[in-house]
């Protein structure tokens, strides 16, 4: 995309009330100048189940507060009550849309703390599962960006393709949405017969989809009008807010855990993450489309390079009474929304002492979104949320 600095929209914050030192605003609702509007939790434009408390003046947002907790299940508390083998079934529900990153991070924490080496084959299969998970998530997000502006057609196509990937998941892992495939110690199954062929068929359809969605959405005059220059994320904010992944890449920062801190077998794969500099909704969406392309390519590479067969599970201690010595670690992997990290502390018992998830949405959808929405048009709220890749369950856990 041609850089068009004229289009970059920066909110003029001068006409809004002065911010207090703690960032709050004195908005006098009784002055009839402002209206308070709640978006969510029961709102089709809000991703997941969260809500935004917007104070608007006309169509412009003066103040935004995010409210989360509608999906809070106390995971971190529950995992403290689950054995290590039980934990991975629980923690994956932390992000419904892309559960495998949770499985992987949890397993890797456990393996690292108990000093278990995972067999080579399992690593390849894990990478495959992670990339498939990213693929299915992107197939929701990429057309979903169109949906937020009223272009529902892309979703019809994209979700179908996502379903094809879920079918492959079903074959490979036995689960459709919650795969529970990556266990501490390895994975739970080899590729079924004919898997590669069926996967390739699905990938071909995704290639076509990328062409179609580009024509429909990325080359759409109205879509461009709605997204180019809107939701500008200042590159100076990347570090200030801890922005990661595609959102950082759209602002010119080449942040990709797969490249920066190679895990599994990613150092054996050949690819380059896409970066752009315009940092608006359109660019972020563009980065995601390129991610989609990359992911398809990566899955092809993984399937071509992976060994035919092999051991898929390291011999762990008996899982019914698996104790891990005292220790702590932090692991991260690249989810479709950026760095996805787990901090785990063990205390020598059969249960983890503390598991803390660092989801990208935690900053994207709370502190960043609150700031980014000020001065924006109320019509762009859901566009912005989707472009930031908000996933509420990983905020509140």
């Amino acid at each position: 995309m041609k850089k068009n600095s004229k289009l970059i929209w920066t909110p003029d914050r001068s006409k809004f009330p002065e911010q207090n030192s703690d960032g709050s605003l004195d908005v006098d609702l009784a002055s009839q100048k402002y209206v308070k509007v709640w978006q969510g939790p029961n709102h089709p434009g809000v991703t997941g189940n969260m809500s935004l408390e917007l104070t608007i003046c006309g169509d412009e947002i003066v103040q935004a507060k995010t409210h989360v907790g509608y999906l809070h299940r106390g995971f971190e508390k529950l995992i403290e009550r689950r054995k290590f083998i039980q934990g991975f079934t629980t923690c994956i529900r932390m992000c419904v849309a892309e559960p495998d990153t949770n499985e992987y991070n949890f397993s890797r924490c456990v393996e690292e703390l108990s000093g278990i080496e995972v067999p080579e084959m399992a690593n390849w299969l894990r990478a495959l599962a992670l990339e498939m998970a990213r693929l299915q998530m992107l197939l929701r997000i990429v057309p979903g960006q169109g949906n937020t502006t009223g272009l529902g057609l892309g979703v019809q196509w994209g979700v179908y393709l996502r379903d094809l990937i879920l079918d492959r998941f079903e074959e490979l892992t036995g689960g459709r949405v919650y795969h529970m495939y990556i266990t501490p110690g390895g994975v739970r199954g080899l590729l079924p017969d004919g898997f590669k062929q069926r996967m390739e068929d699905a990938l071909k359809k995704i290639d076509e989809f990328i062409v179609d969605i580009t024509k429909l959405m990325y080359n759409n005059a109205v879509f461009k009008k709605r997204t180019v220059g809107v939701g500008y994320l200042d590159p100076a904010w990347i570090d200030k807010f801890g922005v990661v992944g595609p959102n950082a890449r759209a602002a010119g920062f080449k942040r990709d855990v797969r490249k920066d801190y190679p895990y599994l077998i990613y150092d054996k794969l050949d690819y380059e993450p896409f970066t752009a500099t315009d940092s608006d909704i359109y660019t972020r969406s563009l980065v995601r489309r390129e991610d989609l392309r990359t992911t398809v390519e990566l899955i092809r590479q993984i399937m071509a390079k992976m060994p035919k067969t092999g051991n898929i599970r390291a011999q762990t201690p008996n899982v019914l009474h698996w104790k891990i010595p005292k220790g702590e670690t932090y692991v991260r992997c690249e989810s479709s929304r950026g760095e996805y990290g787990y901090y785990m502390v063990t205390d020598g018992s059969e249960f983890p002492r503390r598991v803390n998830l660092r989801g990208p949405s935690y900053v994207h959808a709370v502190s960043l979104l609150e700031k980014l929405l000020v001065g924006a048009n109320i019509a762009d709220v859901s566009s912005m949320m989707v472009s930031l890749g908000t996933c509420p369950p990983e905020i509140e856990r």
């Binding site: 209206v35 308070k36 509007v37 978006q39 709102h43 089709p44 434009g45 169509d59 169109g146 949906n147 937020t148 502006t149 009223g150 272009l151 529902g152 057609l153 019809q156 196509w157 179908y160 429909l216 759409n220 005059a221 109205v222 879509f223 009008k225 709605r226 048009n377 109320i378 019509a379 762009d380 709220v381 859901s382």
Partner: protein, 301 residues
């Protein structure tokens, strides 16, 4: 045809046909939109189920008298338009109550429904209704401009403010249609038509992703049933309006159904593949493209 009773009877029969055609048309359009999304889509008769269901809800709460009247105003707007719209050219039975100045009256009714709805929706107390109403009215104002300009252009062209006259002038072959004789007015009118039908990119009045679903947020049960009934009538009558203005009217029911379908399809055709404009984009677009076309239509007539 002096007997007013028979006239009324045929008018009501026409209303019945128009209502049914409106519902079936909505079903067909749903099917077509579904096919573009590579799916089967709801059955053609689904709008009937919806309508019966809405009327059969056991409870329906109201937020006061104006809330109650909103849908009725809207319905009277739609039915009013219908009453004064000649359906079939040359047929006394199907010309309803059209008279010499019906074009003006219909434009009035077009806006009347809107206003009534706005009042009722505002009474619902929901902020999304209020936002939707203010958006709807501002957008409608900008739609009216090119549409009115186009109609003025046609009125100048045919020296008449009567549909019967306008349609009569277009008889005698496809080349006599306003579409060919006054393409600028047609272009302005048909772009305005996109706005009147409320499909993307001009559907932000009820944009489900931001203000679900705009003015009718609080409407439900029978109220929504009335609104849906009106929508079915209105969609056909709007199409008939544009058919009469630009596409030579209809001389038979078949022609009417075909033409209204195609005209309505035009809005669907555009709507499916475009996202929606923001309100200020929509307003500025209407003030740019169709308005200029409308002005040009008047200048060049």
């Amino acid at each position: 045809m002096d007997n007013i009773a028979i006239k009324l009877l045929f008018t009501l029969l026409g209303l019945f046909i128009v209502l049914n055609w409106g519902l079936i048309q909505a079903g067909i359009m749903n099917k077509i939109v579904a096919r573009v999304g590579k799916r089967i889509g709801m059955p053609v008769y689904q709008p009937y189920f919806n309508l019966i269901k809405l009327y059969s809800k056991r409870t329906s709460i109201t937020h006061g008298v104006m809330f109650y009247l909103g849908p009725l105003f809207r319905l009277s707007g739609g039915v009013g338009m219908f009453l004064f719209m000649p359906l079939i050219f040359g047929s006394e039975y199907w010309s309803n109550f059209s008279f010499a100045g019906d074009v003006v009256l219909i434009l009035y009714f077009q806006f009347f429904g809107m206003l009534g709805m706005a009042l009722g929706a505002g009474e619902g107390g929901h902020p999304y209704s209020a936002i939707g109403v203010s958006r709807g009215l501002s957008q409608w104002t900008t739609i009216e401009l090119p549409l009115t300009l186009a109609i003025i252009s046609i009125a100048i062209q045919y020296h008449s403010l009567s549909f019967t006259d306008i349609v009569a002038a277009q008889q005698g072959g496809i080349t006599h249609w306003t579409m060919w004789t006054n393409p600028l007015a047609t272009a302005a009118g048909m772009l305005a038509f996109l706005g009147t039908m409320g499909h993307s990119p001009f559907d932000l009045v009820k944009a489900p992703n931001e203000i679900p679903i705009g003015p009718p947020t609080e409407y439900h049960s029978t109220f929504l049933g009335v609104l849906r009934t009106n929508a079915a009538i209105l969609h056909v009558v709007e199409s008939v309006l544009f058919m009469n203005l630009f596409f030579g009217g209809a001389t038979s029911w078949f022609e009417l159904i075909l033409k209204t379908f195609l005209i309505y399809f035009w809005s669907v055709f555009v709507g499916v593949v475009f996202p929606r404009f923001r309100i200020e984009q929509s307003v500025s677009w209407f003030l740019k493209v169709p308005l200029i076309l409308g002005i040009l239509a008047i200048i060049f007539i």
